[in-house]
C-alpha cells in the first residue's frame, strides 16, 4: 500500500527555534536586487496614514509580544504543541482528546441546563418538562447532555482500553494511569448523580437501586447509603445533595485532575504502539526537520519512548 505523504508544514507556521536551518549558500529569503544606496535613492517617504496603517498591522503582534514577555507562554506552548510524538501514532491516540471534548460538551450544556433547572423534589420534573417542551432548543441541549454522558463513559472506557492494550500504563506513566482511574470513577459518579436529577420514575427507582447497591458493602455500606440519601429515605435532601455533587464537587475535581493528566502527558510524552519495533539510533543522524536542541526539554522523553517502543 503506498504511503500518503503528509503535506509539508509551511515555514511561517513553524516557530523560529524549530525551523529547518537554511543550507549553506541558500538564504532563507529569496534573492532580490542588491540594496540601493540610501543616499542616492532614498526610499519614498511614508505619509502619516501609511505609518498608522503599518502600526495597526503590527498591533496584534505587539499585543502577543506584550503578553509573552510577561508570561513566557510562547516557550511553554511551543514545547507543548510542537512536541515530538513516536512513530506509529495513530487514530487510537485521539481517544483521550475525544473524552476531553465530550467533557467540554457536558460542561457547556450543563451550564445552560442549570439556567432552567430547579433542584426541588416538587419542581424538578416540571422544570425538565419545561426545558424539553417550551424552551427553544431546550430538548436539543438536554439531549446533548443526556446522550453525551453515555458518549463520555464509552469514550473513557475506550481510552482506558487503548492505554492498557498498548502498555502505555508502564513506567514512567503509572501515576497517569492512577489519575486516569480516578477520573473514570469521577465520571461514573457524574453519570450516577446526574441520573436522579430529572426526577421521573426511571431516575427515582434507578437511584434507589444504585444507593442500595452502595449499601450492600459490609460495615460501611449502611452509612454510605445513608450519607448519599442524607437520611433514611430518598427525599428532598437527596436530590439537592446529588445536584451539588453533580454541579460543584465532581466537576471541579475532574477539571483539576484533567490538568494533572495532561501535564503528565506533555511531560512524559506518549508511547509508540506495541507493533512498532525499536530502531537503533544511527550515530549523529540529525533529527529530521526539527532542531532538537531547543525543543529537547519538552520532547526528550517522547523521543526516547519512540525509540524504546
Amino acid at each position: 500500500m503506498p504511503k500518503i505523504r503528509a503535506p509539508k508544514i509551511p515555514d511561517f507556521v513553524v516557530p523560529p527555534p524549530l525551523r529547518k536551518p537554511a543550507k549553506p549558500g541558500e538564504s532563507g529569503t529569496p534573492k532580490g536586487p542588491a540594496p540601493a544606496d540610501l543616499k542616492t535613492s532614498p526610499p519614498p517617504r511614508k505619509t502619516h496614514g501609511e505609518r498608522l496603517e503599518g502600526q495597526a498591522k503590527e498591533a496584534p503582534v505587539d499585543v502577543l509580544a506584550w503578553v509573552d514577555q510577561r508570561t513566557g507562554a510562547s516557550g511553554f506552548l511551543t514545547g507543548m504543541m510542537f512536541r515530538k510524538v513516536p512513530k506509529g501514532t495513530n487514530w487510537f491516540y485521539t481517544l483521550g482528546s475525544a473524552t476531553l471534548f465530550a467533557f467540554i460538551v457536558q460542561a457547556v450544556t450543563g451550564v445552560f441546563l442549570a439556567m432552567f433547572y430547579t433542584p426541588s423534589v416538587t419542581q424538578a420534573y416540571a422544570s425538565i418538562s419545561h426545558i424539553n417542551n417550551d424552551v427553544p432548543l431546550g430538548q436539543f441541549v438536554h439531549g446533548m447532555h443526556k446522550w453525551g454522558s453515555s458518549v463520555m463513559v464509552i469514550l473513557i472506557f475506550l481510552h482506558m482500553g487503548r492505554t492498557f492494550f498498548f502498555g502505555a500504563y508502564k513506567y514512567p506513566r503509572e501515576l497517569n494511569w492512577v489519575i486516569g482511574v480516578v477520573l473514570l470513577i469521577l465520571t461514573m459518579t457524574m453519570a450516577f448523580t446526574g441520573y436522579l436529577l430529572p426526577f421521573d420514575q426511571r431516575s427515582y427507582w434507578a437511584s434507589i437501586v444504585g444507593i442500595n447497591i452502595n449499601g450492600t458493602g459490609p460495615i460501611v455500606g449502611p452509612y454510605l447509603s445513608d450519607f448519599l440519601r442524607a437520611g433514611p429515605e430518598l427525599g428532598a435532601t437527596t436530590l439537592s445533595r446529588f445536584y451539588a455533587i453533580h454541579m460543584l464537587l465532581v466537576p471541579g475535581a475532574i477539571i483539576a485532575l484533567i490538568g494533572a493528566h495532561m501535564y503528565l502527558v506533555v511531560k512524559l510524552g506518549t508511547t509508540a504502539p506495541p507493533w512498532v519495533r525499536a530502531t537503533k539510533p544511527k550515530g549523529a543522524e540529525p533529527v529530521a526537520q526539527l532542531d532538537g536542541g531547543s525543543a529537547g526539554d519538552g520532547a526528550g522523553p517522547a523521543a526516547n519512548g519512540g525509540s524504546r517502543g
Partner: protein, 224 residues
C-alpha cells in the same frame, strides 16, 4: 578589620577550625528554640486551627443526617373491618414528610393469622420495598406471593423469601389500633426466622453475624 582578617586567612593554613555562627536575631541565653522555629510552629498551628474551623463544620453538616432520628410517625390507613386474615389490602401512606408523592410508600396490610402461629388480634403491614435493591414488589393474589419486577425476587404470603436474589424477608411496619382505626408506624426488618430487628436497607442481611456486618443505622427505630 574583620574583613581584612578574613581576606588574609582566605586559603591560608591558619584558617580557624570552625566558623563562628552569628547569633540569630532575638537570641538570648538559655533559649529552648530559635525565634524562627517558634514562629513557624505558631503560624502552622494557627493555620491548622483556622482550616479545622472551616472543614470540620462542613463535614459535620454533610454527615449529621446519618445520626438524626426523625419523629416517630403513625398514620391511620383504614378501619379494622377493612382487613382480613387470608389476603392483603394495599394501603398508601406517607413515610417521609414534605416532599409530596415521592415521600409516599405502599404497605400490604392484613389481620394476623392463627394458621401462621401469629399473635391474634394484631395487624401485619408488609412493606412493598424489595429486600434485594429496593424496587416495589406487588402482591399477586392468584399465587399468594409477593413478586418483584426488577430482578425476579419472590416472597411467600408472610413475606419470606422463596426465590430470586433477595437476602432476607420483606420489611414490615409496626401497627396499632386507635379508635377502631388501624395505624402503621415505623419500619422494621425481620430475620429469616421472622424475628423483628431494627430496619435495614435493602440488600443487607439480617440475623446472626450479619447484625454486626450490617450495623443498624442510628436513625432507625427499635423493633417492636
Amino acid at each position: 578589620m574583620a574583613a581584612d582578617n578574613a581576606d588574609k586567612l582566605n586559603g591560608a593554613e591558619e584558617a580557624p577550625q570552625e566558623r563562628v555562627q552569628p547569633d540569630p536575631p532575638g537570641y538570648f541565653e538559655g533559649e529552648s528554640m530559635t525565634r524562627r522555629r517558634a514562629f513557624t510552629i505558631a503560624a502552622q498551628g494557627l493555620g491548622g486551627i483556622a482550616g479545622a474551623a472551616i472543614v470540620l463544620p462542613a463535614i459535620g453538616f454533610a454527615v449529621a443526617p446519618i445520626f438524626h432520628r426523625g419523629r416517630e410517625r403513625w398514620e391511620a390507613v383504614g378501619p379494622e373491618s377493612d382487613f382480613v386474615e387470608d389476603t392483603y389490602r394495599q394501603v398508601v401512606f406517607t413515610e417521609t414528610e414534605g416532599i409530596g408523592d415521592a415521600g409516599k410508600t405502599v404497605a400490604y396490610v392484613r389481620r394476623s393469622s392463627a394458621d401462621l402461629e401469629e399473635e391474634p388480634g394484631k395487624f401485619v403491614a408488609v412493606s412493598n420495598r424489595c429486600a434485594h435493591l429496593g424496587c416495589p414488589v406487588r402482591f399477586v393474589e392468584a399465587a399468594g406471593n409477593f413478586i418483584c419486577p426488577c430482578h425476579g425476587g419472590v416472597y411467600d404470603f408472610q413475606g419470606k423469601r422463596i426465590g430470586g436474589p433477595p437476602v432476607r424477608p420483606l420489611d414490615q411496619f409496626q401497627t396499632r389500633t386507635r379508635n377502631g382505626q388501624v395505624e402503621v408506624g415505623p419500619r422494621f426488618s425481620v430475620t429469616n426466622q421472622m424475628e423483628p430487628v431494627r430496619a435495614r436497607d435493602p440488600g443487607e442481611f439480617t440475623g446472626g453475624i450479619w447484625e454486626y456486618l450490617y450495623p443498624p443505622r442510628p436513625d432507625t427505630f427499635p423493633p417492636p
